[in-house]
Amino acid sequence: MAKTVRRSSNRSGKRSKMQEAHDSFVFARYFFMVAIVAFIVLLTGFIITLGPLDISVAEAYRALLSRAYPSSFQVDPLTERVVWNIRFPRIVGGILAGFGLGVCGCVMQAVLKNPLASPFTLGISSGAQFGIAVAAVLGVSVFGGPYLLIGNAFLFALLCSAFIIGLASVKGATSETLILAGIAINYFFSAMSQLFRYFADDEQLRLMVSWGMGDLAAFSWSKITILFGVFAVCIPLLMLKAWDLNIMTSGDETAKSIGVNAERVRVYVLLISSLVVATVVCFTGTIAFIGLVAPHMARMILGGDHRFLIPASGILGASVLVAADGVAMNLIAPTVIPTGIMTSVVGVPFFMYLMLKGRRKEFWT
C-alpha cells in the first residue's frame, strides 16, 4: 500500500512535542492490545492447571500444542484428555462469550450514546431467560433434544432485539427511547419469568435458576464451533463501522454532517450485535456485567477510537470472564460457583478502582 508519508510536519522538519506525544499514545494503544492478548494466553495456561487433576503450567501448554505438533510436544493421555475435553473448551467458550459480550456492549453504547447500554439493560438477556422459562415449564420449544432450552433462549433473545430494532427503525425514535424501551422489556420479561417460576416444580425451578445465574459449563467443541462461526461473520461486520461509531458518539446531527447515516448504522449495528448476544446468552445464560463494564475499562485506557475500542472491549471482556470463571471453579472447590455471580464479584471492584483512579477525570460526560 503506497501512501504519501509526511511524518515531519513543522517548518523546521521536526515533529512537534504534541505530535511526539500523539505518536507515543498510538504506540501505547498497540502495546496495550498486544499486552492483553498475551495476558489472556498466560491466563489460559494458568487456569488450565486449576482443578482436581494436578497439571503444571508447562504441561498445560504442552498438552495444548500436542495436537498440532504431536512429535514435538508429548504429555500423558489423561492430561491430554482433561485439558482438551474438559478444561480447554470451557476456557475457549469463556473467551468467546466474554469477547462477544464486550464487543456488543461497546457498539451498543456507541450507537445508543449511553454508558448504561448493554445486552442486559436492553432486555435481551431477560428475553432469553423467559424463553428458558417457557421451555422448562411448558415444555414448548422450537427445537428438541439438546437444543430444547438453547433454541428457546436464542429465539426469545432475538424477539426482544427485533422489537428494539423495529423501534429504532421508526422515524424520530431517539436513543433514549430505545434505552427506555429496553428497560421496559427487561421488566416485562423478568415479571413473566417470575410468573413461570411461581408455577414451576422443583426441577423446573432449578433449571431456570441455574441458567439465570450464567455458567460456562455447557461449552463443548460443537457449541464453540457454532459460536466461532457466528463471530467470524459478525465481528468483522461490526469492526467495519468503527469510524461511524466514533462519529456517532458526537450525536446524530454531527454524524450526518460528516457523512454517516446515523439511523441506518444504528439499525445495522443493533441487528448484528443482537445476533451475537443471542448466540452467546443461549449457551451461557445471563452474564450481565461483562457487556456493561468491559467497554468502559477499554475506553478509560485507550480513549474513544472504536478501531481499537471494539477489539479491546472484547479481549478485556474475555479476560474478566475467564478470570472470574477460574475463581468461580476453584474458590470453594469442589463446589463450583456460577460464573455470572463471580463476574460481578471480580469485575466490580476492578471497575471501581479504575473509575476512582481514572486517567481521565471524565471518561463520559
Binding site: K3, T4, V5, R6, R7, S9, N10, S16, M18, Q19, A21, H22, F25, Q109, A110, K113, N114, P115, L240, A242, W243, D244, N246, I247, T249, S250, G251, E253, T254, K256, S257, I258, G259, V260, N261, R299, G303, G304, D305, R307, R360, K361, E362, F363, W364, T365
Partner: protein, 293 residues
C-alpha cells in the same frame, strides 16, 4: 456571476406546523453571510436543511450548481461542512481524534499519515495544537468551538455552515471565533453561512445579512441596508439606535416594544404608548429573490 450556494423555495415543517416557508437565496464564492432573526425564526432549521440534517419538504439546494438533495451523505459531507452550536458528547475522546473524525468522507477504515498531517495543519492554523491530546470534555467553551471548527475544516469543503458559533462564549472568544471564520473566507476563499444572534458581530464581519422572521426571509443585503432601526424594530420588537462605526452599523438597544404596540422600559414600571407595529414596513416585506454575491 458565480454562485456557490443556492437555495430555492425551501419549505420545512414539523408535523403540520411550518418552520420554513419558501426560503430562497444565492450566495457567491468567498462570502460570509449571516442569518439573523429572533428565537424560533428558523435560522438553525434553515442551516440544517441546507446540510440535509433535516429533509426539507420542498425546494432545492445547489452547491456549484450541483443538487444537494440528489447527493448521498458522504458526497454532501465532501461539499458542505457543519459546525454545531455545541457538541454534547456521550463519551469523551481527545482533540486529535475528534478533529480526525472530519476526515471520514475522504478516508477508508485506516487513516493515512496524510490525513493525520492535515489534522495537525488545521490544529496549528487555529492555534490549538497544544490541546491535541486533551480530552474534548475538559476544554473551555471557546476551545471546544475551535475544535468543532477544526473538524469541519479538515472536511475540506468549499462551503461551511455554522449554527450560532458564538452563543456560549465571552466577548474575547466571540471575536476570536469570528476572526478565524473571517480569515477562512479571505485566505481559503470559503463560503460561510452562519446563524448568529449578535447583530453587532453580524454587522462587523458579514458581507451579507439575511434577516428572518417566522420562517421567511424579511430582509437581505449588505449590513448597512439590512440593519436599520425600522427593520430591527419590525423583526425583533425592539427599538434601537443605529450608529455608524467605521462604516459598519452599530446597534444600541433602547427598549422592548410589546407586540400590541405598547413599549416598556427595563424594569417595567413606566409604560409609554408606542406606534402600532402589527404590520411590517413595506421596505421589509417578504423577499424571495436574494443575491448576496
Amino acid at each position: 456571476m458565480m454562485i456557490q450556494l443556492q437555495a430555492k423555495g425551501i419549505v420545512f415543517g414539523y408535523n403540520s406546523s411550518p418552520i420554513l416557508k419558501d426560503v430562497s437565496f444565492e450566495i457567491g464564492p468567498s462570502r460570509l453571510v449571516t442569518i439573523v432573526g429572533p428565537n424560533g425564526s428558523g435560522k438553525s432549521t434553515l442551516i440544517k436543511c441546507i446540510d440535509r440534517i433535516l429533509a426539507p419538504e420542498r425546494g432545492s439546494i445547489l452547491i456549484d450548481r450541483k443538487e444537494v438533495t440528489k447527493m448521498d451523505r458522504l458526497e454532501i459531507a465532501k461539499n458542505l461542512s457543519y459546525v454545531p452550536q455545541s457538541s454534547a458528547r456521550t463519551f469523551s475522546s481527545n482533540v486529535f481524534d475528534t478533529v480526525l473524525m472530519g476526515r471520514r468522507p475522504h478516508i477508508g477504515w485506516l487513516s493515512s499519515s496524510d490525513d493525520e498531517e492535515r489534522v495537525w495543519e488545521v490544529l496549528r492554523l487555529l492555534g490549538i495544537e497544544e490541546l491535541a491530546m486533551s480530552g474534548f470534555a475538559e476544554l473551555s467553551g471557546g476551545q471546544q468551538q475551535k475544535v468543532l471548527i477544526a473538524r469541519a475544516l479538515v472536511q475540506e469543503t468549499k462551503v461551511m455552515l455554522l449554527d450560532e458559533p458564538t452563543s456560549n462564549l465571552d466577548i474575547w472568544h466571540q471575536l476570536d471565533v469570528m476572526n478565524i471564520v473571517s480569515d477562512l473566507v479571505k485566505k481559503r476563499r470559503m463560503t460561510v453561512l452562519m446563524a448568529l444572534h449578535d447583530l453587532n458581530l453580524a454587522s462587523k464581519y458579514s458581507h451579507g445579512i439575511i434577516m428572518m422572521k417566522r420562517g421567511r426571509i424579511m430582509a437581505a443585503g449588505d449590513p448597512a441596508s439590512v440593519l436599520t432601526p425600522e427593520n430591527i424594530e419590525a423583526i425583533y420588537n425592539v427599538e434601537v439606535a443605529v450608529r455608524s462605526q467605521s462604516e459598519e452599523p452599530f446597534i444600541v438597544p433602547i427598549r422592548q416594544i410589546k407586540p400590541n404596540g405598547s413599549g416598556s422600559k427595563p424594569g417595567g414600571r413606566f409604560f409609554t404608548s408606542g406606534k402600532r407595529r402589527s404590520r411590517l414596513p413595506r421596505s421589509i416585506a417578504e423577499i424571495k429573490e436574494i443575491r448576496l454575491s
